[in-house]
Symmetry: C2
Subunit: 319 residues, 2 copies
């Protein structure tokens, strides 16, 4: 039985070499450079060869593996939690950032950054055990719909990036998420969505404590903001290796890309540029979510590939 | 070529079933229960079956995968760093815990706990980049010798535990270290010693910051003490799953074992009892390093296996 299974696996693997590893990507320089990097990484003797243990690839999540408009999806989740918990917190009516959320004050909410997001996260996500929180997230992901697209949020994950993640894993890479989003918000669903297991998720987190009897209790205090210079710090804490590939879409990913691409040997930096107002959204330097400015300015000089969503992708979410 | 390699792999794997997975363990109840757990974990339909994604096993390091006498090996490393750096720090002559180290004051050093250890770690391990520190550790591991055994420290790793780690990996488990020791002290050598890659090391850590240009700078402040109730916290931060197997040797591992074994389904808790004064060391309730008391009291009621080093192991360090 084992031998038969392995023969089948060998046959399937071999046939892949004749297939297009990135079928949702249009032919062109972007796709060509990515495929060359993956191919050379596995070719001993090539300048681009990467030892198996060093094949670490890190991917931002918001705006990079799924959409992030009109606001981070985790913020939508948080707003729904704030509304649900408001009756127990009358003080929120006059206390920011809660007041803005409860009043649906879009102008105020547009000004929210990582700080307000994490303040709301700490206030609405603390008190319960990790397992209880995980259930709340799982249920929301299975039922909540995006306000304008009307889709489940996991249906707004990018098909071309999922193909890239799979192609990297087939080439022996360990794929990680390194996101400003919360680890406990991502872990329950990323394996089904991206093939990335919970133990390969780096992200922001609140403090937790161990409770005698076997529980992890979530506390209302921030422990790590995994954004900007915090991303290489999160990578140090969890992975302990300099990635050889880093992929992001905003200036919050700049330091991660720099960290990955300043090591020795073959390196790949990817910036996803949202250029597709028809099929997704178009934004960069002026956007309050996913601002991308320095990355665009320096990508060419640093050898990073700027993925043009409208031009390089056949589909955004797949069929 | 691929097919041939896979056929060979299949053959090798099949032949393993005829082999003793734990050749350095004596026959008996301990070995039998461990092998039964591993076998059932892979057997669908068995009560002991564990889904592949849940096969997470966490191992303490000091006193569990290698020796920890006369003191934690990392403390010996730190003492040698203190001595090397002392000329640059005249104030250490009258400042504890440095003074005790410089004067070789064994009585004072016997009182050192996790707190002093980490204070010394922060003071002697900060300022340089992560990569520089990694080189210092690697060189020390290749040259420094244990004060009484005269061996390299990596020669004082436990052969029976290395077999157990390998048997678990062959059964689809991901094996992690979860140690009170520092992550940056362990990552450079644990893959060669135990087959555990750097990204599967959970441990204590000092704060780091990202430095423009691509470097991780080590700061003189403690970020996490991964001991006692800190172990499940470290597991939350890095792994995000409740382990199904936890293995330790002191009361510093108690909470990790409790956390692992209070989940649903098949669980295994292992306590290594140092009972072998001839081949290694014998200590438990009264020891200042690796104190084991509550674990011995509660193991039977909790269904944890107490490994008797003298009785259960054919060899300590292998040949």
């Amino acid at each position: 039985m084992k031998t038969i299974a392995l023969l089948c696996f060998a046959a399937c693997t071999s046939s892949l070499f004749a297939q297009d590893l990135l079928p949702s990507w249009n032919e062109g320089e972007t796709k060509g450079r990515i495929l060359k990097f993956i191919s050379e990484a596995q070719t001993e003797g090539s300048d681009g060869y990467i030892a198996p243990g060093d094949r670490i690839a890190t991917f931002d999540n918001d705006g990079n593996l799924w959409s992030e408009k009109p606001m981070y999806f985790q913020l939508i989740f948080i707003m729904e939690r704030v509304a649900a918990l408001a009756p127990e917190h009358p003080e929120w009516k006059t206390q920011q950032p809660f007041q803005a959320v409860l009043e649906g004050d879009k102008a105020a909410m547009k000004g929210f950054g990582e700080k307000e997001l994490l303040e709301l996260m700490a206030a609405t996500h603390a008190g319960m055990t990790e397992e209880e929180f995980s259930e709340i997230v799982s249920e929301w992901m299975q039922t909540a719909k995006h306000p304008t697209a009307g889709k489940l949020y996991t249906e707004m994950t990018f098909q071309p990036m999922k193909e890239l993640l799979q192609a990297l894993r087939d080439a022996g890479f360990k794929t990680y998420i390194v996101s400003g989003g919360g680890i406990s918000f991502m872990r329950p669903w990323v394996e089904a969505a991206y093939g990335i297991p919970p133990e390969q998720v780096v992200g922001s987190r609140i403090k937790v404590e161990y409770e005698e009897g076997g529980k992890i209790r979530r506390l209302g205090e921030i422990d790590l903001i995994d954004d900007k210079a915090g991303k290489p710090v999160g990578i140090y804490q969890v992975i302990g290796k300099r990635p050889v590939l880093a992929s992001g879409n905003s200036d919050g990913d700049f330091q991660m890309l720099e960290y990955a691409t300043t090591g020795e040997g073959a390196r790949l930096g990817l910036i996803l540029h949202h250029t597709d107002a028809d099929r997704e959204w178009a934004y960069d330097r002026e956007s309050h979510v996913g601002q991308l400015s320095r990355g665009l300015d320096e990508a060419a000089a640093r050898g990073w590939i700027v993925i043009d969503m409208a031009k390089d992708w056949k589909t955004i979410y797949g069929e």
